[in-house]
Structures are given as structure tokens and as C-alpha cells.
Amino acid sequence: MTRQEPGEAYAEFVKGLWKENPIFVQVLGMCPTLAVTNSAVNGVAMGIMTLFVLVMWSLMISALRHVIPKQVRISTYIIVIATFVTVADFSLEALSPGVHKALGAFISLIVVNCLILGRAEAFASKNPVKLSVLDALGMGGGFSLALFMLASLREILGNGSFFGVSLFGPNFEPWVIMILPPGGFIMLGLLLLVFASVREARQKVAGRGERKAA
């Protein structure tokens, strides 16, 4: 077991936020992303729910990773996730019935969010508790960040409001398609496009720099 320096732990946390952002880079967990991001409140609520489930569950799986037999591990993961999701579902219903109604079935669908199962296979089942929790926080944070970005853009363009606060006044003609299903697909596609072009531009600059140095 190698000794962990603080830098390494920090890196585990940060990678989930941007470099390996679950939605923008890994393209996992698409279903809830597109469905609930038609308003910023819903997007953020879903992000927090997923973060909660991801962290609790990474903690548990990582703590029990030597105990769970290999053959039943997928079933075990799924049942544990389902339990935490049920907890989160009821908590949300108690805390905020409005948001719960808006998110609807998609809270339950966190169970089959490929992001969560993916993190299990890739990380929590193989790493100590501290690193797994940091990884979960990073991935969940990145997921929430992405949801927030997408949801804000869609709400601002499609409804003229941000977190329910009207931004442009009554004469604004909202771009309604943005809050409808096609808008979800298109908005995320455009965001990915922007990131890809930024990445390419950066690579070009880096390439030019290398050639100059050579």
C-alpha cells in the first residue's frame, strides 16, 4: 500500500470535476441529465441527490470491498444503491414536495445511473475508503456542475428565467424548444461542441509552442 500524499488525494477529487467530468467527458448518466435540466432548480436538486447517493454508496462499497463475494457483486451494488436512492427519494419528498414532483420517476432512476455502477467497478471496489469518498465527491460534484450549467442555459433561453427569477422581462420571446426534449439533446450537443473546439484550439497552440521550442 503506497503512502498517500495530500496532493494525490486532491487530484482524485479534482479529476471528477473537469478532466474526467462524467457528463462532458465520460458521457455517462445521460438519462437524468437531459430529462431534469429544463429548469435550474431541478438540475441542482438532481445533482445533489446523485452526489448524496454516490458518496454514501462509495463509502459503503469501499468499506465492504473485501467482504463482498465476486460473483454477486453487481447484484449487491444494485441493491445497496436502491436502498440509498429510496432514502433520498423519501427525504426529498419530505423536504420539498414541489421539486420531488418535478423530478418524478427520475429520482428512482438514479439507481440505474451508469455513472454510479461505473464508479463502483472502476474505483470503489478497488480503493480504500478515503480515496473512494473523494472520488465520489469529485464525480458527483462534476455531475452536479454539468447539470447546473446545462439547466441554467436551458432555463435562461427557454424560459427567460434563472432559478425562477425572470431575467428579461415580459417582452422576451422565450426559445421554447430549449426546455422541451429536443432542446436537451441540442443544448448538450452544442456544449460538447464548444468544449471540443476549445480543446482543439488549445492543442493547436500547444503544438505550435512545441514546434517553436524544437
Binding site: M30, I78, A82, T86, G189
Partner: protein, 194 residues
């Protein structure tokens, strides 16, 4: 009764298409749909799993869950995982060629949100046994339809001259967005419908 069933079938297949309107089953949608025949096979396997899940969900809803509503999610998930395992074994026995062709995608049906959503919607809308099966058939058919359409479009796109920054997921998302818009046109199919 048949009018009601027909309406459930058509609405779940086309008007409220599981993939293009409800954003369900997106992982296979973006992951698998590179080729039409793979997409079709996966779609059919999904329909089969959906129908079985629907039947089990109806039984669960009728007899067991009224006593323990908080176990709903867990029991649905266990049913789905077992059904997929069972389907895997059956296909392996009956048609090894098909099993090899489907590969990893078969176990991935377990995490297909469309199936769990099917069970949840069915519970929320209080569908009976037959309505549930018809709903599953329609939803599965809609999913297969979306998968095959996407596969066809992507096969075409492979041969076209598309800039490199767009290729990959961004392009697939934009294609999906336009498909979704097209399907929105079905919204007025039944006049006076809710």
C-alpha cells in the same frame, strides 16, 4: 377496451417515445447504435425483457407491494436483474451465434433506465395486467425504432464529410435532437387526447 389498448400502444411507441421524449434508454442509444443489425437485435432483446418485467411488476403491484410500498424500487430492480440473467442463459442455450453477436450489451440491459422507468410508470398510471403488457410492447417498439433510426443515420454520417470537432458524441446528440423534434410532430395524432 381495444381502443384504449391501441391508444396505449401508439402513444408509448410514437407520441411519447421513451427515448426521444422521456430521455430513457440513452446509454444503448448512444453506445450501441453504430450499426443497424446490432441495434435491431438489442432492441428486440429489450422488448422481451420489458414484457417480462411488466408482467412481474403487475404481479408485484397487485399482491405484494400494497403491504410494503418502500420496497418497490428494490423489488423492481431485483426482478429486472434476474430477468436479464435468465434471458442471457436462454439465448446462450438456444442461439450461441446471437449470444456472441450481442456480447456485452445483453447484461447492460439491466442498467437500461427504460426498463425500470417502464415499471415505475406502469405503477404510477395503475395499469392492469394486459394494459401493462401492451405498454411494454409499445415502449420497447418505440425504443427499437429510435435505436434503428439512429443507427441508420449514423451509418450515413460515417460516410459524410463532417468536421472533426463535431464527430462523436456532439454529433450524435445533435442528430438525436433533430430526431426528437421530428417525433414531436406526432403530438397532435389523436385530436382531443390528453
Amino acid at each position: 377496451m381495444t381502443g384504449q389498448l391501441f391508444w396505449i400502444f401508439i402513444s408509448s411507441m410514437i407520441i411519447n417515445n421513451f427515448t426521444l421524449s422521456y430521455f430513457l434508454g440513452l446509454c444503448p442509444f448512444f453506445g450501441v447504435s453504430g450499426r443497424i443489425d446490432t441495434a435491431l437485435r438489442l432492441g428486440l432483446a429489450t422488448i422481451f425483457v420489458m414484457v417480462i418485467t411488466s408482467i412481474c411488476a403487475s404481479v408485484l403491484n397487485a399482491f405484494i407491494l400494497p403491504h410494503a410500498p418502500y420496497l418497490r424500487l428494490i423489488s423492481f430492480i431485483v426482478v429486472i436483474a434476474s430477468t436479464v440473467q435468465f434471458v442471457e442463459m436462454v439465448i446462450k442455450k438456444l442461439s450461441p451465434g446471437l449470444f456472441r453477436a450481442l456480447g456485452i450489451f445483453l447484461p447492460l440491459i439491466t442498467t437500461n433506465c427504460a426498463i425500470l422507468a417502464l415499471a415505475i410508470f406502469q405503477t404510477q398510471r395503475h395499469y392492469g395486467f394486459i394494459e401493462g403488457v401492451v405498454f411494454a410492447l409499445g415502449a420497447g417498439a418505440g425504443l427499437t425504432l429510435a435505436l434503428v433510426l439512429m443507427a441508420g443515420l449514423r451509418e450515413e454520417a460515417e460516410l459524410s464529410d463532417i468536421p472533426s470537432i463535431v464527430r462523436g458524441t456532439a454529433m450524435n446528440l445533435l442528430i438525436a435532437g433533430i430526431l426528437s423534434m421530428a417525433f414531436m410532430g406526432f403530438a397532435g395524432l389523436f385530436s382531443g387526447s390528453s
